[in-house]
């Protein structure tokens, strides 16, 4: 069981990271949420009977955890913002430092703007950014496909507006 679980997390760790980042702005909260998602996945792993795709199950558990996550009270005021430098993007061949820097800036800005959306809107937009189809988003969230469409249109508009205000075009 341990090995199966580890294999799944190895394969889908990107989902955990992106959801944890979309629901936190500070390093300590991010780490707490990431760990809480792992705990919830581990606890529900036993009950997972394969009735849906593994990725759908991971999105569902991770989003439930993020939506009900509460910051530790003693830290409610503030600590350090998430430090992008800790999670570097590899340069690769032919990619200059400047390009990597630009990429990191854009990623940081995108997360910052996603974080400014309402909690429930974040869940929908991040599934869309993950390139999930409307019916899959509807299945994970538990609303109708048409409802997803209407909501997504409004959220995307809001996100573009936020990105513009935060200076996306200038990067």
């Amino acid at each position: 069981m341990k090995l199966d679980f580890k294999k799944i997390v190895d394969q889908y760790n990107g989902i955990l990271y992106k959801i944890a980042r979309s629901y936190t702005t500070e390093e300590a909260d991010f780490q707490d949420l990431y760990q809480e998602i792992l705990i919830q996945l581990w606890q529900s792993f036993e009950r997972f009977k394969g009735e849906s795709k593994i990725s759908t199950w991971i999105y569902r558990v991770s989003l439930n955890t993020a939506l009900t996550f509460q910051k530790k009270q003693k830290r409610e005021i503030s600590t350090n913002p998430i430090d992008n430098a800790s999670y570097k993007i590899a340069g690769g061949s032919g990619v200059g430092e400047e390009q990597v820097f630009q990429k990191e800036k854009k990623i940081e800005l995108l997360y910052k703007c996603v974080n400014l959306l309402k909690k429930d809107d974040r869940a929908i937009i991040l599934l869309h950014l993950e390139e999930k189809k409307y019916d899959e988003i509807a299945e994970i969230i538990g609303i109708t496909v048409s409802h997803v469409g209407v909501k997504l249109m409004r959220i995307k508009k809001q996100l573009f507006q936020l990105l513009k205000e935060q200076g996306y075009g200038r990067i």
Partner: protein, 204 residues
């Protein structure tokens, strides 16, 4: 700023995810098996703590008051209070496993239902338990100071005592709900309700 552009940027953070994952990978299983800090688990721990305090009080009272003339009255009261706190802790553990997980809306609805039911039950429990505790404490204190139950029932004593007790219970209940219960139940209940309403709100 095209849509695919945002999806591309989003995808690029996979590298950051990988980098972070590599930094914690050796401890993944250890991390996954830690104690949950989720709201319902915190509540469960709280209920268990309540029961443990009840049991610790049992030991304390048995040790110090076993020869007191109203020992059985007090022991009986404590027994009822302990049972009253053990039953919810047991029932809560069962409910925790029954929260639906088929989709986000159902889970949030389940969380909200569990929490609001617990909030309602805790309020009722406190309304019953606080006055009982207060009365027993009063009798113990009065008789311990050399008074008899008969004296306590004289109207010159009983009326001010009842008034002060009611006032004390109201203040104690208010303080408990204003601070402890608010953070533990009311705030999350309100947040979950808002979240659920937002998710289900029909937009044009």
């Amino acid at each position: 700023m095209e849509e695919f552009d945002l999806q591309d940027i989003w995808k690029e953070s996979d590298e950051q995810a990988k980098s972070y994952y590599q930094s914690i990978e050796p401890e993944i299983l250890e991390m996954a098996r830690k104690k949950s800090d989720g709201i319902l688990y915190k509540l469960k721990r709280n209920l268990i703590a309540d029961s443990s305090i009840g049991m610790a009080m049992w030991v304390f009272f048995f040790y110090y008051f076993w020869d007191h003339q109203y020992f059985w009255l007090m022991a009986g009261t404590l027994f009822i209070v302990t049972i009253l706190s053990l039953i919810p802790a047991y029932k809560f553990s069962k409910k925790l496993k029954a929260v639906p997980t088929q989709n986000v809306v159902e889970s949030i609805r389940g969380y909200h239902e569990v929490l609001s039911t617990e909030l309602r039950k805790t309020k009722s429990r406190m309304t019953i338990v606080l006055p009982i505790f207060f009365m027993v404490g009063l009798i113990m204190g009065f008789t311990g100071a050399g008074g008899g139950i008969g004296e306590l029932l004289e109207w010159k004593i009983v009326i001010p005592t009842i008034l002060i007790s009611i006032l004390a219970i109201i203040v104690l209940r208010w303080l408990t709900f204003k601070f402890h219960m608010f953070h533990l139940y009311e705030k999350p209940v309100n947040e979950l309700k808002e979240l659920l309403d937002d998710l289900l709100k029909i937009e044009n």
